[in-house]
């Protein structure tokens, strides 16, 4: 194979892996949008909050340390323990469930049957509140997240491809792990929603609120369930992104990258979130590779949005979204 083609293949593979990361975030959006029609702007911040909490718990950071010190004149900072990664992740998952309960009790419950725009505004408020809370609880500095996931270039793949094609592919171990985790997560979610009683209730609520009520499904329970699952998905996304680039507050901005993914895949489709993420990931890497040099590079910043715009014009419901039919 010619060198150029091999290189393009490598770029594409890297794009696929990056796309998995986008998919992980988009997945959380789709879950909540399907079940409640809420576009959850706070999904990215949920990922940030989960990652912050994970790091904090793992390193035994004292939450609200700054505030406590300022008020009481103490100098607490750390409990002095180091939790094993598994324990910290489990605890963080619990925190996310607790957060889901609180969000339902304090915000959503009071906004039942309000217009979507109101709920959207509420999630914007929620996003900034959570960002502030994360800051006050755990501090604003960039943190290193290490839960023992392999990082760096996979030497196996490099040597195997080198002996096969005479060209070694550079692929990050973390990306491979992220891909495997995403596949497992999506399969588990699909099986749960297709075959379990709560999954059936969840699909029922996504389809028709009134009908769901009439068969005895509690909307509030389903919302807590969905936000818990979305919180868990955010935790997974937070771990992956946090390991990759450190836990920093710009993490909350990946929510914006998930938007074009959703436009491509459709807001109500789980497979759509995955495929949309992959297309964007591959698309922006390949575009940058082939077209970038001609127009001065840095196309990754805007390519996804441009692609979404084109989709909006020709297929507004996305690839997998429900077709918008207006009956007259």
């Amino acid at each position: 194979m010619p060198e150029q083609l091999l290189y393009a293949t490598e770029v594409m593979l890297n794009g696929l892996m990056a796309g998995v990361m986008y998919s992980l975030v988009a997945l959380g959006f789709v879950l909540i949008f399907k079940a409640s029609g809420i576009f959850n702007y706070a999904q990215g911040v949920l990922a940030l909050f989960a990652a912050l909490t994970l790091v904090g718990l793992q390193n035994g950071q004292v939450p609200f340390a700054h505030m406590i010190n300022a008020v009481f004149g103490t100098h607490v900072a750390e409990f002095g323990w180091q939790l094993p990664a598994v324990v910290a992740i489990a605890l963080t998952a619990l925190v996310m469930v607790g957060l889901a309960v609180l969000i339902e009790k304090l915000v959503l419950k009071h906004l039942v049957s309000q217009a979507p725009i109101i709920l959207f505004m509420a999630t914007i408020g929620l996003a900034y509140f959570l960002e502030g809370l994360g800051d006050v609880m755990w501090g604003a500095d960039i943190k290193k997240l290490d839960v023992g996931l392999p990082q760096g270039i996979s030497e196996t793949i490099e040597s195997v491809t080198d002996s096969l094609f005479g060209y070694g592919f550079f692929i990050d171990n973390l990306d491979i792990v992220a891909t495997v985790v995403a596949v497992v997560l999506v399969s588990a979610l699909t099986i749960f929603s297709q075959y379990s009683k709560q999954g059936r209730a969840l699909r029922a609520v996504a389809d028709d609120h009134q009908a769901a009520l009439s068969v005895g499904i509690s909307l509030r329970f389903i919302w807590v369930l969905v936000w818990s699952i979305a919180g868990f998905v955010a935790l997974v996304a937070g771990i992956m992104w946090g390991t990759k680039s450190g836990v920093q507050f710009s993490l909350s901005l990946i929510a914006l990258k998930a938007l074009p993914v959703l436009m491509l895949g459709g807001f109500t489709s789980i497979p759509g979130a995955i495929v949309g993420g992959l297309i964007i990931g591959v698309g922006e890497k390949l575009f940058d590779f082939f077209v970038g040099p001609m127009i001065g590079g840095a196309t990754e910043n805007w390519f996804a949005y441009m692609l979404a715009l084109i989709f909006l014009v020709f297929r507004p419901q996305g690839l997998f979204g429900e077709k918008i039919i207006e009956r007259v």
Binding site: Y195, S196, K197, R200, A204, D207, D208, Q210, L213, V215
Partner: protein, 272 residues
């Protein structure tokens, strides 16, 4: 027929029991509009009770009060001898009151079978964890409920569309699936909101037969709203007639048919 007795048997041999549900002085207001004005009536165990009236009489509002979608402004709802506090619709459903909707509220994206299975959600006992991990009795339970659902599918003669997504079904069949879902909950009281609306004669006959069969076979108490006077008179044991939110008649079909107020409401009053 003496409706006041504690229990009796109808001419066709069905057993009518004591009072299952009692509405006491129900009033329902939306802002300045009074949808229901001080209405009282009861529903006895095992009977088919119809609520009829012209458009805008407040029939659907009454059904929504019974099923918990509306909370009455004044008045009391008694069920199985207990006064029911203000409840959410899903809590009412769990008491054993199932319903269908005038405009059909099914889960369009799900198969007929899945739709009917949702009717049994309240009866499934296994918790979130055992369901998520498919351990404990989750699997056994699913099979048991599946069996019951298959019986209902047979009963309503919809075997051949079991796996079809509901969104693709014609109107008449959707109505039948909705009835099946309500039946799957094995309700004490079944509420049907215009079960024959928009149907042709043949479909109406089918539906009437199913309503009678359900009542006969399972002994389910049924309260239904219907426009079609003919259908109502054939089906029901007792009829409540509403007009402009008020009750203007209550009794057997024959009594109601000969009630002057009812005749006026349906045919209009001569002004001379």
């Amino acid at each position: 027929m003496n409706a006041k007795s504690a229990g009796h048997t109808t001419a066709d041999g069905r057993k009518i029991g004591g009072v299952l549900m009692e509405m006491k002085n129900i009033t329902l207001r939306f802002g300045g509009v009074t949808a229901i004005k001080d209405i009282s009536f009861d529903i006895r165990e095992g009977e088919i009770r119809a609520i009829i009236g012209p458009n805008g009489a407040g029939k659907s509002s009454m059904l929504n009060v019974i099923s918990g979608f509306y909370v009455p402004t004044e008045g009391e709802v008694w069920f199985k001898g207990y006064k029911r506090g203000p409840m959410k619709p899903y809590q009412v459903a769990r008491l054993g009151i199932a319903r269908t909707f005038q405009n059909i509220a099914l889960f369009d994206g799900m198969s007929v079978l899945d739709n009917i299975m949702t009717g049994r959600l309240t009866m499934m006992k296994s918790g979130l964890l055992s369901q998520a991990l498919w351990i404990g009795n989750a699997e056994k339970e699913e099979h048991a409920h599946r069996e019951k659902v298959e019986k209902i599918i047979d009963f309503l003669e919809i075997q051949n569309i079991r796996k079809t997504p509901v969104g693709r079904l014609p109107y008449g069949l959707k109505k039948r699936v909705e009835l099946a879902r309500a039946l799957a909950a094995e309700p004490k009281l079944l509420l049907l909101d215009e079960p024959m609306a928009g149907m042709n004669v043949e479909e109406k006959e089918d539906m009437s037969r199913f309503v009678l069969d359900v009542n006969d076979e399972f002994g389910t108490t049924i309260a239904l709203i219907e426009h079609d006077m003919g259908v109502v008179m054939d089906l029901s044991d007792r009829v409540v007639v509403m007009d402009y939110g008020k009750k203007i008649g209550d009794g057997t079909p024959d009594e109601v048919r000969n009630n002057q107020d009812v005749i006026d409401a349906y045919l209009g009053v001569a002004h001379d």
